[in-house]
Symmetry: C2
Amino acid sequence: MSNIDMIRAAQSRLNGHARKTPLLSSPFLDDIAGRKIWVKAECLQHTGSFKFRGGWSAVSALSDIQRANGVIAFSSGNHAQGVALAAARHNTKAVIVMPSDAPKIKIENTRALGAEVVLFDRENQSRDDVAAEVNQNGKMTLIKPYDNEQVIAGQGTVGLEIAQQADENGIEQGEVLVCCGGGGLTSGIALALQDTAPNFTTRTCEPAEFDDVARSLMSGNIETNTRKSGSICDAIITPAPGEITFPIMQNLCGAGLVVSEDECLHAVALAYERLRIVVEPGGAAALAAALFHGDELNSENIIAVATGGNVDTDVFIQALQKFGAKS
Amino acid sequence: MSNIDMIRAAQSRLNGHARKTPLLSSPFLDDIAGRKIWVKAECLQHTGSFKFRGGWSAVSALSDIQRANGVIAFSSGNHAQGVALAAARHNTKAVIVMPSDAPKIKIENTRALGAEVVLFDRENQSRDDVAAEVNQNGKMTLIKPYDNEQVIAGQGTVGLEIAQQADENGIEQGEVLVCCGGGGLTSGIALALQDTAPNFTTRTCEPAEFDDVARSLMSGNIETNTRKSGSICDAIITPAPGEITFPIMQNLCGAGLVVSEDECLHAVALAYERLRIVVEPGGAAALAAALFHGDELNSENIIAVATGGNVDTDVFIQALQKFGAKS
């Protein structure tokens, strides 16, 4: 069962391989939010998202025989790249099953990192069925993107770093906002903070119409989204919270926050302008909530996790043109 | 005289105030360069450039009476913001003399950080004359952007961090490429590396037609640029190397590297895509040299300093449209 000991063990295995990403801030963002905002810049992680941590944690926890047989993963893109690079650095074969509407750059990057990519139609095919077909002899280890204890443990190392960096910055209490898809990162962070920084509350952030976790937290049951694709927040539009992650979030997280796509694009532009980091729309949902949903926040100190920076350039330009400072 | 002791003293004063910026890398950049590339991401420093270090170093070294009388600086933008924020955090008044063709966002940001901004025409007015007029009673302390020993000491803390991060990453030898205007950062880094990492050679990087430092290093005399403005690399188009900085560079640096504006824009796009950082064209000159001037490099390990990230959005979009990955 996922717990702090697994997260600490993952941190040991990640040491020297994952980056300790910086905690950034800007007085301009504080002014907009009317409170202190810090951004945990996981877009600066290897492969451009926190997913490298979970990928490394999972691959490094395999036995030698398992590694020799290779790994398989399904992913909208960031998990794909994280697993691909982690596998490559362990000399392990990786097959990644990706939705055909994932940003091209994520598909290309996954291939360039050495993985074999198999595409599927997100509206009409089950990714589990496709994955099972690829792995017909059953020897490859499936690394699920969030419902996997070693993946959750790897993502939880973000929480350990947040606890340490909050302490270094004299932040004694606050809310940690996390862009949430299936809940692997959120549940890992919540577990880590429960043990190391219990004055911090973890809260999920999702785009409107894909707010399965917020609704699940409210109802107490796993709720699903009606739509399955068609958001610029592609990284976090999973169909429902995970069976492992949901009970953890239900136990430890505050109410879920829901932001609009335009708020995410605005946050992308402000992160570019004020923090000089590249964040994808889905990775900016937490910053959007911090900046634009102050009436739903309960703390003067907000730490928003910028979860990823793998964005299609036309979407990024759209964000800058719509919300960037004019020359 | 500028030396390692002043740099170490500046590091103590900056401790807890300046960010220790990360050293980033990407296998995709290594592939382009055909060698290992690391990027010291000073665009993630407070105010978006290394200049905050020099500003803080200089303001924090003043006496109480000097601080009470305020500081004055002239700058194309990054030094302006660095001094403005450093002064504001010391409760010190700052007047910044800026060229009227500096990016608007830099002018606006300098004002928003609490400084008074005085504009001048770079082609027809001497910035020294303008500064003297503002400071008629002579009581304000002028903080020059590079020919100031405390400023050089502050910028030199980048070199101390590079030495430490190179050691942490197992990089034993190499070249450190620095985007160079007047030479404050370059000379500070060179002094720091001489003492703490003598296997590393510091080299300057400048845009074509503004290569005063490269020509000065070659001739052994301070050479000046014919043009004084009109480059997208506005941050580093100073007229000539400084009187304090040039002898240090002459003593410690390798031959200067000169890159094209298009190479800088290309490096901006690759830093966005592969490192997820926002770099301004002048701040990307070192990365451009690392990526595209391999035949002039002598090492398998290159550390390029990304000196700033305060870019006009239309220029940034131009870089992405011209050199970004196509969707």
